[in-house]
């Protein structure tokens, strides 16, 4: 039974989900809805990772972004919640259009470069899978120093966030 999904369909579906959710994340009236659609957008990106032979990273994406960061965002939204904070920002008109123009130009130019360069990229056959067990050795064997630096970064971020969030009395 030939039930393998052509990669194009996967791509189209995931793109639609991700982009719509991303737009909604920025435009939703309620911040809570924004956070939820941000989560959906992240899940879409995780789907991309999976379809690009990086399932472990896809799972990492879901666990870290959707599981942790979105919870943090939700909690912060609820912490800073005020009636004003919920209202959609007024007076976006002129600047909104300008922002749209900048963003649009940038996206189109990048897409243009990609479209020009795209056909020249060597497309490797999909048969060569990247096993997840390869990730560990490369992580620890090839890049040990970034790992230590990352530990310092994590420590620094944790301490910094704690000190920032502390109430001075």
């Amino acid at each position: 039974m030939d039930l393998s999904v052509p990669p194009d369909i996967t791509f189209v579906v995931l793109t639609t989900i991700t982009l719509l959710a991303a737009i909604l994340a920025l435009q939703a009236k309620e911040l809570i809805y924004g956070a939820i659609s941000l989560g959906i957008s992240f899940i879409g990106i995780a789907g991309f990772f999976v379809s690009l032979d990086a399932p472990y990273l896809g799972m990492l994406q879901i666990a870290v972004y959707v599981g942790a960061v979105v919870v943090l965002i939700l909690f912060t939204i609820m912490l800073v919640r005020r009636e004003e904070a919920d209202k959609e920002e007024a007076g976006e008109g002129g600047e909104g259009a300008a922002g749209l123009w900048i963003a649009g130009l940038l996206a189109v130019s990048i897409a243009g470069v990609a479209a020009l360069a795209g056909p020249n990229l060597p497309i490797s056959p999909p048969a060569t899978n990247l096993p997840i067990s390869q990730l560990g050795p490369v992580l620890t064997g090839t890049y040990p120093v970034p790992l230590i630096i990352l530990a310092l970064l994590l420590s620094g971020a944790l301490l910094g966030a704690l000190v920032l969030a502390k109430i001075d009395r």
Binding site: I36, Y56, I62, V71, F75
Partner: protein, 342 residues
């Protein structure tokens, strides 16, 4: 096998699909029907067991031996009850989140191997997949609590969030030693590696940590603060009624079964057992035993205070789990376990 082109080919095609292993795994055995039956059985089983502990009789009149048809009666009753949506509640979220909870509770069953060939999707990153999916629960619960626009759910949801967040990390890190022992994240391979010895022996400490963390994740007594009846009525699902309640209830028992299955896979040797019973039977029996041990404390223990609970999670369990990683490193590198082929 090709897709049918003429109507005459349709019937053989359907028969071929329905009898294919994939279809059976998806719909019947580790799939939907099996899940529904076991989850319904668990709701009855918990009530009956608790009743016995407390010298009561429990469900009796719904039919079958010991009122085993009680879940069906409950389901019919709840479906036809009125769904009350609280004033000013966020309606789409209030109705959508329970469905999402059931979905998330049932989705990880796709990667749990109930037997050597009884698994829906033999995923290479199965364990991490389960963790990724279960890590979505806290945010769902928080959103649901927020959506119902009522104070009890909100407080319960917050407690639930912090509890699950506090116990998720010890749970993962204690599972790490199993992963190190098996050298794989694929649940089928993890079980295969336990053919000679169940991982509960070399990783006993992490089994304890994992079990406690699981109990906390499931919000079962003594960790059931989010739904502490005297204080918070029913916690984050106080406002749910009728079908919404039924769906949430289903999701909770789904998660109970999921976690028992996960413990079975990680520590209790999955489907391995003497050959006089088929593999899936062994698996389900083990999972039910684990579930029993999770239910029993509900009849026995009081509950903790919320800040103590979170404190225990972060200070004790996390430290033990991290220490356990070092122990496993030591065990593996000194080769003590080589007798079992590890």
């Amino acid at each position: 096998m090709n897709l049918p082109t003429t109507p005459a080919e349709l019937l053989p095609f359907i028969i071929a699909v329905v009898t294919s292993h994939t279809f059976i795994t998806l719909v019947i055995f580790p799939g939907f029907i099996h899940l529904t039956v076991v989850v319904m059985f668990l709701t009855w089983y918990e009530r009956k067991l608790l009743a016995r502990i407390q010298l009561r009789i429990g469900p009796l009149y719904a039919g079958g031996p010991g009122g085993i048809l009680q879940p069906i009666a409950d389901g019919v009753k709840l479906i036809f009850k009125e769904v009350m949506i609280p004033y000013k509640a966020d309606k789409p979220l209030f109705l959508g989140i329970p469905l999402a909870l059931v979905f998330l509770g049932a989705l990880p069953f796709a990667v749990i191997p109930f037997g050597q060939h009884w698994v829906i999707a033999n995923l290479d990153v199965g364990l991490v997949f389960i963790f990724a999916v279960t890590s979505l629960f806290p945010s769902m619960i928080l959103i649901f609590a927020w959506a119902s626009n009522s104070k009890y759910p909100f407080l319960g949801g917050l407690r639930s969030l912090f509890q699950q967040v506090a116990y998720e990390i010890p749970m993962w890190i204690s599972a790490l030693s199993v992963v190190m022992l098996a050298g794989s994240l694929n649940l089928v391979q993890i079980v295969t590696a336990q053919q000679r010895i169940w991982f509960i022996v070399p990783a006993f400490l992490s089994f304890i940590v994992f079990f406690i963390a699981t109990m906390a994740e499931l919000e079962r007594l003594p960790f059931d603060l989010p739904e502490a009846e005297p204080e918070l009525v029913a916690g984050w699902y106080t406002e749910s009624s009728g079908a919404v309640f039924m769906v949430i209830f289903l999701a909770l028992y789904m998660k109970l079964y999921l976690m028992s299955s996960l413990i079975t896979v990680l520590f209790l040797g999955g489907w391995w057992g003497p050959a006089f019973l088929p593999q899936p039977v062994w698996f389900i029996l083990k999972a039910l035993v684990v579930a029993t041990f999770m239910i029993i404390p509900r009849g026995v223990y009081p509950r903790l205070r919320v800040d103590l609970l979170i404190k225990v999670g972060w200070t004790r369990l996390l430290i033990i789990a991290l220490a356990n990683v070092f122990i496993t490193v030591a065990l593996l590198s000194t080769g003590v376990l080589s007798a079992w082929g590890l």
